[in-house]
């Protein structure tokens, strides 16, 4: 910590609304660094930005035991005695007092809360939840802002560092600005130097031979699709393909990635040279190639292990995602396939088409999104509770031939959904066997429109999804149920709890805690549960009032993912709008995931589990 005799720049901030296990926490900043003044509980984090202090604030001898504690004590002592120390001390005290008051207010609130009835408590919690939502969003956007600010600051820092390195570095370091790895060669690090030089060579060759071409066309995504040449001897016109928008977009992104990778390597090269300079100046010896090679299987082994997976993730996950996102800003569809007819950038036009208030498409999108969320909610929780219920029933003492019951249920999983769902779909068709028998037995006079009535079709997909989903949940929950300590049930029984109370107070909280992440995952999977909807109802019955997109008419049970499928495989494949839908699904899924993950007990009280 840099000592300054002038203004101590102390700013004390109450960590408002902290849910930390440590109740008495003061967060304060000294010269821009954040510190944590905490109550007697031991803080294990030795990070220099967090220190342990007594809540009395005034450093005592005990506090000076740790390195950071010493720094704070040192800081405290360097403050001018008298007014300055008093001012800081008063500030701490004032805020500590505020903290105490806040604590008291919360305790009072807790007392009030305990007086509330069950329903009132639920309403209270619900209110608290929704009150917190704006803060979450504010925090989210603040974090995004902070991220960009940090990126900006980092770039600026790097620029300054580069300038200083060039100004103060040795001649070999300066040459390394142009010839990568030169400094390393001069300092005897031939392996690093060769790798840097290889990277530079590869980059130059790639850019000259290919990268510059893709990059120059990236702005337009191509100018000429085909050139026709007439062969008068054969009376044949041949077609030569010139530009390919699809390739330009793909290789353009790869080139941009490569440029970033090169820029990072170049920066690394300069930094390495600076470090070599510093080591040489201090009279020490720089690492040799042998030591470098040894380090990749020793202290740098994590990098060796991760290099291939990281490369794989970039190439096969991040790159396709970026590609698909960018498609949403083009006019890529059946008329602009990129090969025979080029596609180009259209800005936000597709989002405008999809989300324009009052347009047929936005109405369809709104209704499909609403049904998607309803579907995901009911599909997740109906399976969850019923699966748990079945597992509890089978696990119950006194139930005989448990394996048999389990086997029956697991049989549903054994048969591929593709077969079972198509079969069930036909069973319940208007002219299917179920309706035929219902009419034959005189139960109904006319067929029940299981798939052609919108509301009924929605209920049907939910109910049939229970049939195919329960066995999975039964298997998962069986294991967890067996892990709940039996003594919890025994002691509750002694206290006079009935079966329902045991379920509500022991089983369910335990299950929710353990399976919280699974529930979230299940909810997200159901948002994208293509199979069940597509194979059962095909998204129908069709809603003529929504019109069509890409030659596909969405229906009452269409969810976003089946809509996306329909418009990419319809008569007028519309990839751009499919990409827009994909982005919107991503936004919905990520927002929901963040909210649910934040409020989930498994996340909020991690250490409670033990």
């Amino acid at each position: 910590m840099e000592k300054k005799q002038t203004s101590p720049l102390v700013k004390v901030v109450l960590r408002d609304g902290s849910e930390s296990v440590n109740e008495q926490v003061l967060l304060f900043e000294i010269e821009g660094n954040s510190y944590c003044a905490s109550a007697p509980r031991t803080h294990t984090d030795n990070n220099a930005r967090e220190i342990i202090l007594c809540h009395r604030v005034k450093p005592s001898a005990d506090d000076a035991e740790t390195e950071v504690g010493k720094q704070v004590v040192s800081y405290w002592e360097q403050l001018p005695r008298g007014e300055e120390q008093d001012r800081v001390f008063d500030e701490f005290c004032r805020l500590y007092e505020l903290r105490q008051q806040e604590k008291q207010r919360r305790e009072m609130q807790a007392a009030e809360y305990l007086k509330l009835g069950k329903w009132q408590r639920f309403v209270y919690r619900l209110k608290q939840f929704f009150r917190a939502v704006p803060a979450w969003f504010a925090s989210f956007f603040k974090k995004i802002g902070k991220f960009f600010k940090n990126v900006g600051l980092k770039i600026a820092d790097n620029a300054v560092d580069l300038f200083n390195t060039f100004k103060n570095g040795s001649w070999s370091t300066r040459v390394s600005f142009l010839v990568m790895g030169f400094g390393n060669f001069v300092h005897g690090q031939w392996l690093r130097g060769a790798l840097f030089l290889l990277m530079q060579g590869a980059f130059i060759v790639y850019m000259v031979l290919s990268g510059a071409h893709w990059l120059s066309l990236f702005g337009s995504l191509g100018e000429v699709a085909t050139k026709e040449v007439y062969d008068s001897v054969l009376d044949i016109t041949t077609t030569e393909h010139i530009d390919n928008s699809f390739k330009i977009l793909l290789y353009g992104i790869i080139t941009i990635f490569f440029i970033f990778a090169f820029a990072y390597t170049w920066r690394l090269n300069v930094k390495q040279c600076r470090i070599c300079d510093e080591i040489t100046r201090s009279g020490k010896k720089v690492k040799s190639a042998k030591e470098d090679l040894k380090s990749v299987i020793d202290d740098q082994f994590h990098k060796t292990l991760l290099s291939l997976p990281v490369f794989g993730i970039v190439m096969f996950t991040i790159l396709p995602i970026i590609f698909m996102i960018l498609v949403a800003f083009t006019n890529y569809d059946y008329q602009h396939d990129g090969y025979n007819n080029l596609f180009t950038w259209v800005g936000l036009q597709n989002f405008n088409t999809m989300l324009s208030f009052g347009s047929g498409l936005s109405v369809a999108f709104g209704e499909i999104l609403a049904w998607t969320l309803i579907w995901a909610f009911f599909a997740t929780f109906s399976n969850y509770f019923l699966g748990m219920f079945v597992a509890m029933m089978i696990n119950k003492k006194g139930i005989k031939i448990k394996k048999f019951w389990r086997t029956i249920l697991v049989m549903t999983i054994a048969i591929p959904q593709f077969i079972s769902l198509l079969y069930v779909s036909n069973l319940f068709a208007d002219n299917g066997i179920v309706n035929a028998y219902l009419i034959k037995w005189g139960i109904v006079s006319s067929p029940i429109h299981f798939w052609t009535d919108g509301t009924l079709a929605k209920i049907m997909v939910l109910v049939i999804n229970i049939w195919v989903g329960i066995p999975y949940l039964m298997l998962i929950t069986t294991g967890i149920l067996m892990n709940i300590p039996e003594d919890l049930y025994e002691s509750s029984r002694i206290d006079g709890a009935n079966g329902f109370q045991q379920f509500a107070k022991i089983t369910l909280p335990y299950m929710l805690f353990v399976t919280g992440p699974y529930l979230l995952n299940s909810f997200i999977s159901n948002i994208n549960n293509f199979n069940v909807i597509y194979l059962l109802s095909g998204g129908g019955p069709a809603r003529a009032d929504w019109g069509d997109m890409g030659g596909y008419i969405a229906g009452d049970t269409t969810i976003l993912i089946t809509w996306l499928f329909g418009i990419t495989t319809g008569a007028e494949a519309n990839y751009k709008m499919a990409s827009v839908i994909g982005i919107l699904i991503f936004i919905v899924v990520s927002v929901l995931s963040l909210i649910v993950f934040t409020v989930m007990p498994s996340n909020r009280r991690e250490d409670d589990y033990s």
Binding site: I236, T238, A544
Partner: protein
Amino acid sequence: MKRKLLSLALCLVLIAATFCVLAACDKKDETDYEITVWVGEGTKTLTEQQIAAFNETNEWGVKFNATVEIVSESKAVGDAVSKPADSADLFCFAQDQLARAVQSNLLAGLNTASVEFISQNSDADAVEAATVGNSVRAFPMTADNGYFMYYDKTKIKQSSIGDLDSIIADCRAEGVNFSMNLTSDGGWYAASFFYATGCHSNWDTDENGAFVDYDDTFDSDAGIIALKGMKKIFGLGDNYVEKDKVSDFNAGTPSGVVISGIWDYEAAKKILGDNLGIAPLPSFTVDGQSYQLTSFLGHKFMGVKPQSDAHKAYYLQKLAMYLTGKECQKQRFEEVGWGPSNKELKADETVTSEALKALEATKKVNQGQYPTNWWAKMDVMTQSARTSSDLDNVLKGLLQTYSATLPDLIK
């Protein structure tokens, strides 16, 4: 030192020689071509045999090493659009996709010999159907893409055949269904009512397959009559099945009538055996006047993908001529029952079947080119008609809504 240099030189010579040999081995005969061919269900083996026969008999000594894949004719153009660089060199597709294929530059221009071959050998309807703007763009393979009536003789009285109202009455009396896909097959079947009342929907394209003009009279008094005729079938309520599958004859509540085409003949025969009846489309009566349902008559084509090698492009057209020629069409008729587009075969009385006769006897109109989304607009209209009342002003409203969307299809 000398020895080292000599060894090095020898090594280089050996390496160079190895590369030369490998390059020579790799060099193929200039008349050998690797191609991919997409054909419809049931014709893969036959096409492979036909290509093998072409390789044996062609006068230019060309050999095609063909990979024949099954891609439904209704999806071939869609698949080619989604992966244009990897689409087949020759592909079979349904007529309704011709304009779209031209728009997407999926079809090579045909040379004079090919155009003459098509004009001389195919019937006039097929030539017209294969023409976009003023150019013939594909090789006609079949002329049987129409529909007629399959029925169960034990459920539908012989005396009822020919009259839709009587057929509907029989279905009601027997508790059986009437299967006709009026609402989700892009209006292909629904159009039969409009053409029956004298309406038409004609669309003009330019040379590039783009739709430039249209003449559609569905939004008219005759259009209202057509919808009223359709409502007769919708009026069957629970006994109306929105499908064109002959498997409905075997459903829990079986169908007495299925409107479909020759592709379902074998399956229908298998289910109903001797009880299978085949008849032309019936007529319907509105306000005392009778209207004969009219089937579309479409064709299947073989298209040639644009090529960068002039010789390959030339020989591919020769192969397409062979595969759509008289001999191959006859083999296709014998193997899978497809009705030929070849003039001579059409006149040949031995090249016919019960199903083809029914189609022949059905009143037909040549299927023109329609914008891809026109079919979806038809679905939207007929789906609305299914649940609407049959008041004239309500039906008129549906037609007006349909009509108002048509200008959007001119792009």
